[in-house]
Symmetry: C2
Subunit: 250 residues, 2 copies
């Protein structure tokens, strides 16, 4: 729902009409034409994954869609529909095998791979990102921390040495990095993105408060700290301005 390629969106027949390997029997469902998972569903899969991991840690072996939906904070019907895009991994009358479903989701997202990641801009936020355990624990491996400021070079952050930004191309090339994280000030972000794209990166997570323009085929997702706060402020203002209820959000 956020920004993929602004206007690009060329649905060049990536239709993959492969025969969705049905578990047992029931091959009559004609292989869902082009098993394409809706964007909204993709955005929720990581949430389910986390909920499932929590259940595994809690020792739960199976769970119903109702339970899992509760843990994930969504409607159970939505959860079931989301999961149905992946296949039929549940058992009617029983529920889902927690560990099995967790693996299936992880595989679908691609977390069974190892994803090397570079982080550019090692300020406060870059520090936090480099130390964030949620990356490493999900198959994302920070292979390099880059910063343009020479004063930061050789500083040790999260066990990694901060390197000059100029080493970007070399690192991306030799380590096959596909994902880059931008945590620089806004003014530098577009330049960094250009360099990243030129070096071969095709997915960018942008924390800089600016709109990046990238060629088609490159995905950009934006995380904007202050925008979220502004959205809250809007609703807060409405609340205190005592507008008629109109059903609060969940």
């Amino acid at each position: 729902m956020t920004s993929r390629t602004p206007a690009g969106e060329t649905p060049t027949g990536v239709v993959r009409a492969d025969g969705l390997r049905s578990p047992v029997g029931h091959a009559d469902v004609p292989a869902r034409p082009g098993r394409e998972i809706p964007e909204a569903t993709v955005a929720r899969l990581p949430v389910y994954l986390r909920a499932l991991t929590a259940l595994v840690d809690g020792g739960t072996a199976t769970c119903s869609s109702e339970e899992l939906a509760g843990a994930a904070g969504v409607n159970s019907a939505k959860l079931r529909k989301d999961l149905s895009y992946l296949g039929s991994y549940g058992t009617r009358g029983v529920g889902y095998d927690v560990d099995y479903l967790r693996y299936q989701i992880a595989r679908e997202i691609g977390l069974t791979h190892d994803w090397p990641v570079v982080i550019v801009g090692i300020g406060n936020l870059g520090h936090a990102l480099a130390n964030y355990s949620g990356f490493r624990s999900r198959g994302f491996r920070v292979v390099a921390l880059l910063d343009a400021a020479t004063t930061r070079h050789e500083e040790l952050v999260a066990g990694l040495e901060v390197r000059p930004f100029d080493e970007l191309e070399d690192i991306v090339g030799t380590q096959s990095v596909a994902i880059g994280v931008i945590a620089t000030p806004a003014v530098a972000a577009q330049d960094v993105a250009d360099r990243m794209v030129a070096a071969g990166i095709t997915s960018i997570l942008n924390f800089a408060p600016t709109v990046l323009s990238v060629p088609d085929g490159v995905d950009v997702r934006k995380v904007d700290l202050s925008i979220e706060l502004q959205i809250l402020a809007y609703h807060e203002q409405r609340k205190t301005g005592q507008l008629p209820t109109e059903g609060a959000s969940a």
Copy 2:
């Protein structure tokens, strides 16, 4: 409206660097009954605001919907429709007065107010948030940094002293804080949220990777660093042709 500002609260010359001034006799709350702004539009208003600020800084006085849409990275039709929810602030055949529109959007979001904010959890991320200039420049004023760990107390972060978490209720009460930011580990997040709600906070920005449950009337927005990366990984996996259901490519 008690303005007992903590001792160290001296923003480094960036108090409202946005230069937002209200025209004469502005109304505090838009209070536009019958006008309900769609959630998707609300989420884009901050983006427009930022683009407009950039235009102002660039010396542009007026702009067309096409220009502004370009700067914001959206479709011009969408932009016009979004703005139409606020009112008719443009001039046909001419465009929008950049400064005027900027003020109207800021007012609609509520950024003409001063929003005191508390941040709980002063780890790596909390540091980054406390130092993030994007908050202060948009009317958000960090009034307190709280952490449960006594080892962090009295540490100076962004000019503010880190205080014990137990002071939450007092600070929220005396400073009329409505917005809280959670940057704690996941296990602590729900407890912090409960305390925040009990103390009177009605909007929470949650950076902890967990689902918070709060009573009706309390808004929660979640920012999850690793989820965004996982979404990118999903698309990346698709691009490289390594489909999850192993190469069943036609």
